[in-house]
Amino acid sequence: MAASPDAAGDTVVIGAIVRRRADPAEVARGEYRVRLHLSQLQSLLGYGDRVDRYAIATRAPAATADAIARINDAAFGFRAHRSADIAVETSTTFAVVSRFHRAIGVITVVASAIFLLCIMLLKVEERRRDVAALRLMGISARTVVRSVVLEAAAIAVLGSIAGVGVGALASAIVNVHYQGVYRTPLKFSIVTGDIVVLAVTLSLVLGIVAGWLAARRLVRTPPLALFGR
């Protein structure tokens, strides 16, 4: 083993071949990695007694700020950072991906809202003859509107429940796929209570509004016209 391929090097005894556990701090494909004693690697690379970084455990969280200040006062050519600050700095990638997902989510919600509105409008317009019959029987316009809105709300709720089921299934598939690809136990997709509430509320509101608009239009049209006469 040598620092360059064509030079004579040291003999290294391989102590163990390990399979790394998936690390929640890393999102990366399986890579080849070698662990050496620090002194051996320094010697191999001609690094002297240099290191890239070192970690310090303080006795108590309160002592961390003091330790950082004292190290930085004495330091020359290096700097101490709080682990939490480094975590924030290195999680920029996640923050960017999260913002991107949120933007995509907004576009998807807009598309779904229009789709839902259109479907509800069509669904109610299909009831033209029923509404005409009810009106001719003497049922009041208000009752007709209420019944149509109730029906629209029921459809929206049932659709939402089915949607949450499909979403949960899709989320599980996404997690299984990407956890395997990136060898990490991190979850890529989580269906939270907030998301479910948002989805159900949105579809319910849109369903009711669409149902109400369509029903109002229907009851304002003369019943015979609805029959096509």
Binding site: F76, F78, V96, I114, C118, L121
Partner: protein, 395 residues
């Protein structure tokens, strides 16, 4: 007649048609964005790599360019060997490092490239001139801002720290002779460039005759992949990365976005398809009597199918340009989000508009529009004329 009937049918239900057009437009926008995302990264990266015409990158064995701090030793002989090859047009050796500029509030640290200005391919000159003399430096705006200097000023800079002596090492007084834009650096990354020999001298004896990377531009007609194999055979201690290899590496690292683009693109297309299919099915069901009458007076089944397909296609055709315009706006916004990826070169675009993307999206939309009209129209045109008319009459 066919188009008139289709138009009349769409106008009869204005609200419904408008909603369908809007829904398909949003789906089209999403589809275009995803088509742009799936191919944009690769094309953008390819054009970035080839922007200066260098097709090969030579890095220390087992590494990618500037992926580690490893360097290539005896680089001068390597560069001479490469320049002697008849297929090679230009070789640009580059040594990377850090430049520390002492300030009252602490040192400003920036990336520095040691290079040969006449053959370099790492920056574009914005103002001033190239650093031809040993004590000359060019820097980007982020660096000049951080050190409070302009073209024409001088700056004291060091290549490292000497922990034993508690002082800066490799200190030089450098003249800022140019303002540049680095091609491969991130937007806000501070960067500077000085002559290769100067940086080597500043970094000390360990850096003499070393480079981090050598970029190779081939003569027209030379095969990059063949040359890659030739150089790796001649110099086994280096890794040669061709543009194809580099693009493959980027593809692997950013495969998530490509997969996301494929999934969301397919979902968008499906949503648009379902929307138009539902609309056409309801519309056809409402007009079953009318269709039966048309069939009874001798209108051919194919003509009825064609009329309904024209209606579906018209919705798609009206919605597509709206969607494409909306898609370009959203792509710009989404690109501005992803441009904040740490370390991403400023010029990389995730969403790159190519006419082929727009045509692909438009073609898929029109195809799905035609398909969405075929089933409901064929079903209605196939119903028995007499039973349908009777059902419609009796109610």
């Amino acid at each position: 007649m066919l188009f008139t009937l289709a138009f009349a049918s769409l106008v009869r239900h204005r609200a419904r048609t408008a909603l369908a057009v809007l829904g398909v437009a949003v789906s089209a926008a999403m589809l275009l964005d995803m088509v742009m995302l799936s191919s944009g990264m690769r094309e953008s990266f390819r054009s970035l790599l080839l922007s200066q015409g260098f097709q090969l990158r030579i890095a220390p064995k087992g590494t990618l360019p500037f992926d580690t701090e490893a360097t290539i030793r005896d680089a001068d002989s390597l560069v001479a060997l490469l320049r002697a090859l008849p297929q090679v047009d230009r070789v640009s050796p580059v040594l990377g490092g850090q430049l520390h500029v002492p300030r009252a509030s602490g040192a400003v640290t920036a990336a520095v490239l040691g290079l040969e200005p006449l053959v370099q391919g790492d920056y574009e000159l914005v103002d001033g001139r190239h650093p031809m003399a040993p004590d000359e430096l060019v820097a980007n705006d982020a660096m000049l801002r951080a050190i409070g200097r302009r073209v024409g000023d001088t700056v004291t800079a060091a290549a490292g720290y000497d922990a034993q002596l508690r002082g800066l090492s490799g200190v030089r007084l450098l003249h800022v002779v140019g303002r540049v834009r680095f091609i491969y650096m991130a937007a806000e990354q501070r960067g500077s460039a000085i002559p290769l020999a100067t940086l080597r001298a500043m970094q000390g004896p360990e850096a003499s005759s070393r480079v981090s990377l050598a970029m190779v531009r081939l003569r027209p007609g030379a095969n990059a992949d063949a040359m890659r194999a030739v150089v790796e055979r001649l110099v086994p201690r280096v890794t040669v990365v061709s543009t194809t290899d580099a693009i493959r590496q980027v593809d692997e690292r950013l495969s998530y976005f490509r997969q996301l683009a494929v999934i969301l693109g397919a979902v968008s297309l499906l949503v648009g398809f379902l929307l138009v299919t539902t609309l056409m099915t309801v519309s056809v069901n409402e007009r079953i009597g009318e269709i039966a009458v048309m069939r009874a007076i001798g209108v051919r089944r194919e003509r009825i199918v064609a009329q309904i397909v024209v209606e579906a296609g018209a919705i798609m055709l009206v919605a597509a340009p709206l969607g494409l315009a909306l898609g370009l706006v959203t792509a710009r916004y989404l690109n501005s989000i992803l441009a904040r990826f740490p370390g991403l070169p400023e010029r990389i675009d995730f969403f790159l508009f190519q006419p082929a993307s727009a045509w692909t999206a438009l073609g898929l939309l029109v195809l799905s529009g035609i398909l969405s009209g075929i089933y409901p129209s064929w079903r209605s045109a196939s119903l028995g004329i007499a039973p349908t008319l009777r059902r419609e009459a009796v109610g």
